[in-house]
């Protein structure tokens, strides 16, 4: 069953079209990565899912229930971590966490203390004096200490140090093991690559890609470095090869992944001395979308 289902959701702020027919779903036991440039509409989508703002058109459900009408019921089993955590200055971190957990009716002290330890938070400080990362930890601890089936995380690690990022990744893997689902919006591509089963890319309010990382890789290019006996400059004319460079006898270029086998055939005739191929990273994928936009703008 799908935990989240978003069906042609659009949102207008006045005349500004923030979302345009956004569609994707998050399945049971899956971590779904939600990426896109600044202002693309990630937080807007998430706020719609949380029933904080209402979609102008389209339909979204969580656990099969309408996100706007059944918000309260849904929220009993959803944990949310906002990107910008604003807290009440005069309450301590410990007080905030306990309040959040009891609001959901799920104050489990063992779990809470374990997480406070794990994230190395001093819960006795006033929230007004916490650093950005520490405020984020409070939101994360409140989320992971709760008994939720679905975690909606909006750039949850933007303020965490690398050590804490590791802890966060452990937490995500832990809940995934328990068959829970996670919607993770993030700009940290390595994190998304490591954690996510499927990925959706949004740009200017429109979903431009959605699928597993492998699916998406097929849409992109593989990086190849090769040393050959004969000159490989003819590769420049082979369709599907891009950015061919020669440096100290080593050719480096990119190949459209769907053309890979044809290019390999050509290469084998040139006598391969050594070859190194790198699967496209998410970053490549991401950059390519930026790139095509730039070209569109110029053209």
């Amino acid at each position: 069953m799908n935990r989240i289902e978003i069906n042609k959701v659009s949102k207008k702020f006045g005349s500004f079209q923030a979302l345009n027919n956004v569609e994707f779903e998050v399945r049971e036991g899956e971590v779904y990565g939600f990426i896109g440039p600044n202002g693309a509409g990630k937080s807007t989508t998430i706020r719609i899912l949380l029933g904080i703002i209402q979609a102008t058109s389209g339909h979204a459900t969580i656990f099969g229930k309408d996100v706007w009408k059944d918000a309260v019921e849904i929220h009993r089993k959803v944990a949310y971590v906002p990107g910008d955590v604003h807290l009440w200055e005069n309450l301590t971190g410990g007080e905030v966490i306990d309040t959040f957990l009891s609001l959901k009716g799920q104050l489990n002290k063992t779990k809470r203390d374990h997480l406070i330890d794990l994230f190395q938070l001093d819960p006795k400080k006033k929230a007004g004096t916490y650093s950005k990362g520490n405020r984020q930890k409070i939101a994360l601890i409140s989320a992971f200490a709760s008994e939720s089936e679905l975690f909606i995380l909006d750039e949850p690690t933007s303020g965490l140090d690398p050590l804490m990022e590791k802890v966060f990744q452990q937490c995500v893997e832990e809940v995934k093991k328990q068959g829970k689902s996670v919607l993770l919006s993030s700009h940290i591509l390595s994190e998304v690559e490591k954690l996510c089963d499927r990925i959706g890319i949004i740009r200017k309010g429109e979903m431009i890609e959605s699928g597993t990382l492998d699916d998406l890789r097929h849409l992109t290019r593989t990086n190849i470095r090769v040393e050959t006996e004969k000159s490989a400059s003819i590769l420049g004319d082979v369709p599907g090869v891009h950015h061919l460079f020669l440096d100290k006898g080593v050719y480096s270029f990119q190949v459209d992944t769907e053309r890979l086998s044809e290019v390999m055939k050509e290469l084998s005739q040139l006598g391969i001395k050594s070859i190194e191929s790198n699967p496209p990273t998410l970053e490549d994928l991401f950059m390519r979308h930026y790139h095509s936009e730039d070209q569109l703008n110029k053209g």
Partner: protein
Amino acid sequence: MLYDKVIQLLFFTCRQNRKASLIWTISLVGVTVLTASAFTGLYQSDQERQSMAQTMENPAMTAMVGPGYGLDNYTNGAMMAHQMLLFTAIVFAVMSILLVTKMTRAEEEEGKLELLRSLPVGRLSSLSATVIFVTILNIVIGLLIGIGLIAMNLVGMGMTGSILYGLTLTVTGLWFTSITALISQLSETSRGVVGLSFLVLIVAYLLRAIGDVSSEVLSLMSPLGLVLRTEVYVQNYWWPIFVTILMSLVFTLIAFYLNNKRDLGAGLLLSKPGKREGSRWLLSPLGLILRLQRTTIISWIIVMFFLGASYGSVFGDLEAFFENNEVLMQMLGDNRGYSMTEQFTTMLMVVLAIMATIPAVLVFLRVRGEEKKGRTEHLLTRGISRFSLIAHYLIIAILLGIVSLFLANFGLWFASSQVMEEPITFVNLLKAGLSYLPAMLLVLMIAVLLFAWKPKSTPLVWLYLVYSFFTVYLGGLIDMPTWLADLSSFSHIPQLPVDDFNWTPILILLFISTVGLVFSFISYRRRDALG
């Protein structure tokens, strides 16, 4: 350099606050000039004014609006200044407190100041720009009021008096500008600054009320008592103006000194480590909301009691005053079967009811502040429905309104029973006081409605409350078209014990409030819960 780029920041401040400044200017100048013309048309003969003067001389009025002066020749000017100057000065104080807080601590809290400070801007530039801006605004409004009064060319309101009238208001504004600038160095949160500054204002008012009735020294210790010593339109003393300016300068200097010394974002009142766990109390929406407003609620409860008590403490003098004043007794007196004391009580009741509405509205509007800061999200995404959220705030507001009203009346009764020969019975007083609850509920309904429907315009509810105050207060003094007064919910409540109790207006008010609240709940569920 400490003051680099002050001028640029000043322009920046103007740009950001021009709308608010314009609204303050227009309403303050407009209300003053209109009231002045209303006063002059009111009493044709000196004789009428003279009898008015006699009523005004009583201690209850003195406690409320300040000492009367020039009563042997109660000109229009003297009358206007006596009845309007203090309240208008309080509005100047409120304006200055709100503007200064918004430009200093609120900016700092939101991290905007940090951005500015990272630019080549002096450490004291931002505070300087604020102080200069609010000072200029106070001067401009004061002068415009003075010029407006001169331009009206009214009998008994001369040139010097009019200018002094305006400047008296200006210096009150300056005093509170500087004290707020100082307080904003002490407290870490903008709510703390507003709270402390209003506390100063309220203490200043109470000190003056008690002082004006019993001890001149006490009055002089209060800025509000001090500025009234100008005796505008009669003696036109200038020394209080200079003394007040001097005090403002001192406070400003201290504020600058502290601002220069402290860290950005820090206050001087340090925060200590607190609890590791949330107490059982805190762990419900009700507990959380109450806890967040604990200080506000407790302070207002105390203030309301003392406000009632200070009005009550003059009742002994009031009784004696009417007994010794046979002319007045005959003129207005017992012929209706109610003592003059009781008639004055009705007026105090309205004032107390409107005052008690302030904490109720304040506590409710906190939900808007929370929304703006992105914190209602925490509750709304944790199984609290919108209905429940808004209902919690509303119920706390209503309860606080009731408690405030009750305590104000209790304070009034308690203090008056100590000093009166024939004390008013508590039950009667309470009946009169609590009859105003429906009027209070209607104001709360307006707050809820604005929040649910047009969240950006929630501050308008304060305008309605101030309007109510002035119509009810002035309605007793000048001939105001009834429809103007009728716009205020408070004018529909029967004034016990002088009027008979009447259910009709009460039920109508309750009905309107209920309809408004239902409508609000529906529209809040429909709108985006964004700041």
